[in-house]
Symmetry: C2
Subunit: 129 residues, 2 copies
């Protein structure tokens, strides 16, 4: 008969691997693409509101690693935001901040469509020089 | 009759504004979203080739400010790359580098579709913490 540790050790390792990966999904950076279409007649007001929200988030929230927003040159009403949060908890905290709630309420009638796409970074530590 | 400078001054200012904006378009950062769909059967090889190209570009080219690539969690064959170049000249130099040409040739049969979208950043100086 094999000593119990020969059976138990792989099991313990497997359990560690499972709990480890569950834990790391909670703790690893959360990356998302938000795609928005804005009412063209409210575009300038939307840009002011979004810029204000992004600046407050990046300045006040250490867990908001970036909110890089672009509009398309040929379709200025179409926005894509690369959102990177330190982890899921940072995102959950972000959507409860006063500046986010103000942006969300203030732009509700400007946003014609919103698509949230969970993403996986190819090179997680990538920065902007 | 008005002195000539009353007519000439606004004209000179307008010319300055036009040439100024033409010049700054050449010199300002060039931002783009590249959207790709990859042949699922070649996905792993594509990721290796893209990561190698990005790492070489960011390391060797001061004018490549970022190439932040993500794939979609629910559609791993769909990629979006946020590309930021210091200016148009940096981009032109980038697409002539050996590492870019190697990537382009090596992945030609892996890329099912490619869309290049010129973009305008909402907050040009935005970084990733």
């Amino acid at each position: 008969m094999r000593p119990p540790w020969i059976i138990a050790a792989p099991l313990a390792l497997a359990m560690l691997a499972v709990s480890g990966s569950a834990l790391s999904e909670e703790q690893e950076p959360m990356v998302r693409l938000s795609k928005l279409t804005i009412d063209p007649s409210q575009l300038e007001a939307y840009k002011v509101a979004l810029a204000e929200e992004i600046e407050a988030s990046v300045r006040c929230e250490p867990g908001v690693l970036t909110l890089y927003a672009v509009s398309e040159k040929n379709h200025p009403e179409k926005f894509t935001i690369l959102e990177i949060y330190a982890d899921r908890a940072a995102y959950q905290a972000h959507i409860q901040t006063a500046h986010f709630l103000k942006y969300k309420a203030g732009t509700k009638r400007m946003v014609k469509s919103l698509e949230l796409i969970n993403a996986v970074p190819l090179i997680p530590g990538m920065k902007i020089k």
